[in-house]
Symmetry: C2
């Protein structure tokens, strides 16, 4: 069953209330917390972070790189949710995100997998309802569809 | 007089209806059109586009670089408007935009000046009311305030 797009936005936004972006201590920590969760639970994916392939959660906490990287990922997530009701802008954001990641030669399956990782992070913080998870997964499927279409159009590996 | 933020969003969005992002011919042309206007009316600012310092509007039209660059600027503009009612995300977007431009060593006065350029572009296409222009200028002042605050915090040239 497909949810109304505005409902998806409302559910996803509500699930993000406790992981706001920000240059205050809490905002910066929210971003680091995502990478601490990510590196702990998906250590194989650290390979995409050159120089940090062996980082533990403690290393993520310590280094300025993940304060910045954490803001970037949270900002992208907050942004994509808020663009979901404007399809052309939502799709444009996705294509630009894919373009920026081209240099990392990511496994194309990771675009969809990200939403499993990210909802896992939200659930781990105890702030994800089943309905919110369903909303994220719907947005994630639409996100992934444009990623794969764009990758294919540019003769890049896709699924 | 300060406008309600949602009103600013509505006015700016309405003024952008004819310059949507997109990977169709119209969407790509919208982005090129901005740079054609920009390079024609502000030739001194071409200095920030390495290799394109002498480009004419015809050159912009011809080269793939400005198809991509055009999408990026339009996407950023469409995005920032849609984030304006969520202050933390709006400010996060601005800081990230400033971070990405650091390498170009821009005159810091250009962050605010951009909104004069961009509203000039919209007016040139015949799609800007006085009220819409006022909305853009309010958003632009708030945008610029965070740019300058962030530049200052990072010991970079600011106004």
């Amino acid at each position: 069953m497909t949810m109304d797009r505005q409902k998806v936005v409302d559910l996803c936004k509500a699930s993000l209330e406790d992981v706001m972006v920000g240059n205050d201590e809490k905002g910066v920590q929210n971003g680091k917390d995502f990478y601490k969760f990510f590196f702990t639970n998906y250590p194989d994916l650290r390979v995409y972070f050159k120089g940090a392939e062996k980082y533990t959660a403690d290393d993520v906490q310590k280094f300025c790189r993940f304060a910045k990287q954490g803001q970037r990922i949270l900002l992208s997530v907050h942004t994509v949710v808020r663009l979901y009701t404007d399809e052309a802008v939502f799709l444009g954001h996705i294509r630009e995100t894919v373009n920026r990641h081209r240099q990392y030669k990511m496994d194309p399956a990771l675009w969809l997998a990200f939403f499993t990782v990210f909802t896992g992070f939200l659930a781990d913080r105890g702030s994800l309802t089943d309905e919110q998870r369903a909303a994220w997964m719907q947005l994630g499927k639409d996100f992934d569809a444009e990623c794969q279409r764009h990758l294919k159009e540019n003769d890049l590996p896709h699924v």
